[in-house]
């Protein structure tokens, strides 16, 4: 082969390489590539529900029932002491003996998960009536289930995995409710007369959480404490006059969550702890600086938060949420009147105690809760942990005993657990092992997620469409 031929071959090879390289550069290997960009679901701008004119507490209906009285109370979400533990001395049943406890009354309700508050023989539940298209606070006689009165207002709510989902706050003088679209209503407890109403969504430009408002109101020293989101983070309203006593500015733009405000005492201060979508904060509850932020932390920033913070006596706060969020433990510290919140642990649901909807119990220095479905091998099991290490269960209910998203509370030193489908379990609250006492199917229910209320030996619970009252005191 002569030199000329070699040069021709070399030139041809170089040309072929150059052509290949140019083709490789110019070629689109994914000609059908489409970008996933926001907006391709045709979602319109946020629905403007603010145009609806709502007259809070506009109508009243005397239903004819009579209150026969009672002595005990379960006056709000998580009971008198915010811990879901009844301190009543009334002896409750030890088991079912194969028979369903006597169900004294059943009331059909609009689809939802709103639980009851009980105050001296009166049951209060904020229902949504689909026929009347109204939020209705129903006052029911605890002993016989007869309705005494209703106070409501028309508001448009669409079914969205239930409509109602909050527990009223009740004191001797007042009842405060929050409806699905954050309409706050304050009534005189005895008469049901309207004291005032507040459209939080309209007044504070609040973004209502998915599946509607889940925050249960709080009354402290005749002040209604509401976490609004929007223009304010938290407000206190005088129950008698409806005047705002203080407002906490929402400088970080945190949003309203399903979590409820929990009072806490630490470092000589009483404070309101609120887990918003965006972060968690402690707001001074009393003193000259009431209504000012004592501490905040953005470390806890989850898109959906339903359980409320569990505030422990040593300044630890247990936070948990569903949808894969997992849990976090904060340690409050106080120095010279300044508070700081330090994150001491954070983990995924499969790595330790986590809850999706219900708030865990704090019992004898331990936390007890039901694991979510994404908790791996422990999914849907009840577990108990020592807060010093929430990742290692002290005990679990075991792979054969699993629960759902239903509520649980302690009364008469018995742990009552309601499953989604109406199965009620009695266990012995214990920090060493899970001890199941008895179990029975109360009703063919669905989504029995509302918190349970216990007072005067009665238990009030519900599934998505009805509420039942039953006597569980030992006869």
């Amino acid at each position: 082969m002569n030199t000329r031929t070699r040069h021709i071959i070399l030139a041809a090879a170089i040309l072929a390489l150059a052509a290949s390289f140019t083709w490789w550069l110019a070629h689109d290997p994914v000609p059908n590539f489409t970008k996933s960009l926001p907006g391709s679901d045709n979602r319109p701008p946020r629905a403007d529900s603010l145009t609806e004119l709502v007259h809070i507490g506009e109508y009243f209906f005397a239903a004819g029932g009579t209150l026969t009285g009672g002595t005990e109370t379960w006056p709000r979400f998580r009971g008198p002491d915010f811990d879901n533990i009844s301190k009543s001395n009334i002896k409750l049943i030890d088991g079912f003996g194969g028979q369903i406890p006597k169900i004294l009354w059943t009331i059909d309700l609009g689809e939802g998960h709103a639980g009851a508050a009980i105050y001296k023989g009166a049951v209060y539940v904020l229902d949504y009536d689909e026929l009347k298209r109204s939020d209705i606070l129903r006052c029911i006689n605890l002993a016989d289930g007869k309705e005494v009165w209703q106070r409501g207002y028309r508001v448009t709510i669409k079914r969205n995995h239930g409509m109602s989902r909050t527990v009223p706050a009740v004191t001797e003088k007042y009842i405060v409710t929050i409806g699905p679209r954050a309409h706050v209503m304050c009534l005189d407890r005895l008469t049901g007369n309207v004291k005032w109403g507040l459209d939080v969504e309209k007044e504070y430009k609040t973004e209502i959480p998915f599946w509607y408002t889940g925050q249960c109101p709080l009354i402290e020293n005749d002040l209604a404490i509401i976490a609004t989101g929007g223009k304010a983070l938290m407000i206190a309203v005088d129950c008698e006059t409806g005047k705002k006593v203080w407002e906490v500015p929402n400088s970080k733009g945190w949003k309203m969550s399903h979590s409820s405000i929990m009072p806490m005492k630490f470092g000589g201060r009483r404070m309101f702890v609120y887990s918003a979508v965006g972060g968690i904060c402690g707001v001074a509850a009393d003193g000259p600086d009431a209504g000012t932020i004592l501490w905040t932390s953005s470390a806890w920033n989850k898109s959906v938060v339903a359980p409320s913070p569990v505030c422990m006596p040593n300044g630890k706060i247990f936070l948990t949420a569903g949808y894969g969020a997992g849990s976090m433990v904060l340690q409050l510290e106080q120095s010279g009147g300044t508070f700081t919140a330090k994150m001491i642990d954070q983990y995924l649901p499969a790595e330790g105690l986590a809850c999706e909807q219900q708030t865990p119990l704090y019992f004898e220095g331990h936390l007890i809760g039901i694991q979510p479905k994404d908790a791996g091998a422990l999914r849907s099991q009840m577990i108990c942990v020592d807060p010093s290490n929430c990742r290692v269960p002290v005990w679990t209910s075991g792979s054969e005993i699993r629960f759902g998203l239903g509520p649980y509370l302690i009364a008469d030193n018995k742990l009552f657990i309601l499953n989604d489908d109406g199965v009620l379990t009695i266990a012995k609250p214990d920090i060493k092992k899970y001890i199941q006492i008895d179990q029975i199917k109360l009703f063919d229910g669905q989504d029995a997620w509302a918190p349970i209320a216990v007072a005067d030996g009665y238990m009030v619970l519900r599934d998505s469409k009805r509420m039942i009252g039953m006597k569980i005191a030992v006869e």
Binding site: N160, K302, S303, D374
Partner: protein, 191 residues
């Protein structure tokens, strides 16, 4: 025994065996295909979305696809099958989506409901959406073997690797076992 007797006895034995099998099938209500055809099928109550369906199928893109039982779907805005956990922006941006191939599509229906559909051409059977839907929602998204794609191998290579034995051969008449229509056999026929 001579060869003829041996063959005769073997034939009788085979006939007897067949009779016993048929009788046993009827007695124990074993599912028998009327047409005699069987297909591989995933039991959605056993499936744990391990991801092997995506990688073990002999097809280059798995014959397993996500299917949607609409009667179970909550049409949620915040869909655990569509969005990554703890996503704050509920839009169709790729960074928010759980599906690695964008096979799950969502369309606004009316406030606050969204419809979810699967683009089967893009679905690679990773099962992430199924796991998300089952963990946080009603479990309406499920993995199923699509019989227009399945080569119905004599031995299914996914079934061999399935950690929960969720894949088995069923009569073609029961080709698709989808939650909603299909009840959990462990609950409907408790032992």
């Amino acid at each position: 025994m001579n060869r003829k007797t041996f063959i005769n006895n073997s034939g009788r034995l085979i006939l007897l065996g067949g009779l016993v099998y048929l009788t046993g099938s009827i007695i124990f209500k074993r599912k028998v295909s009327a047409s005699g055809k069987y297909v591989w099928q995933i039991d959605p109550f056993k499936c744990m979305q391990c991801g092997r369906c995506s990688t073990q199928c002999v097809r280059e893109i798995s014959a397993v696809k996500c299917v949607h039982a609409y009667q179970l779907c909550g049409y949620c805005d915040l869909c655990g099958g569509y969005f990554k956990p703890n996503t704050h922006k509920l839009n169709t941006g790729a960074e928010s989506q759980l599906c690695p191939t964008g096979a799950l599509k969502r369309k606004y229906v009316e406030e606050p409901f969204f419809e979810y559909k699967i683009d089967e051409k893009l679905c690679n059977a990773c099962g992430k959406c199924v796991k998300g839907c089952g963990s946080f929602g009603n479990g309406s998204l499920q993995l199923q073997i699509r019989h227009d794609l399945c080569q119905n191998c004599n031995e299914c290579s996914i079934a061999r690797m399935c950690p929960t034995n969720a894949i088995s051969r069923v009569p073609i008449e029961a080709a698709y076992q989808i939650k909603g229509d299909f009840k959990n056999p462990a609950l409907t026929n408790p032992k």
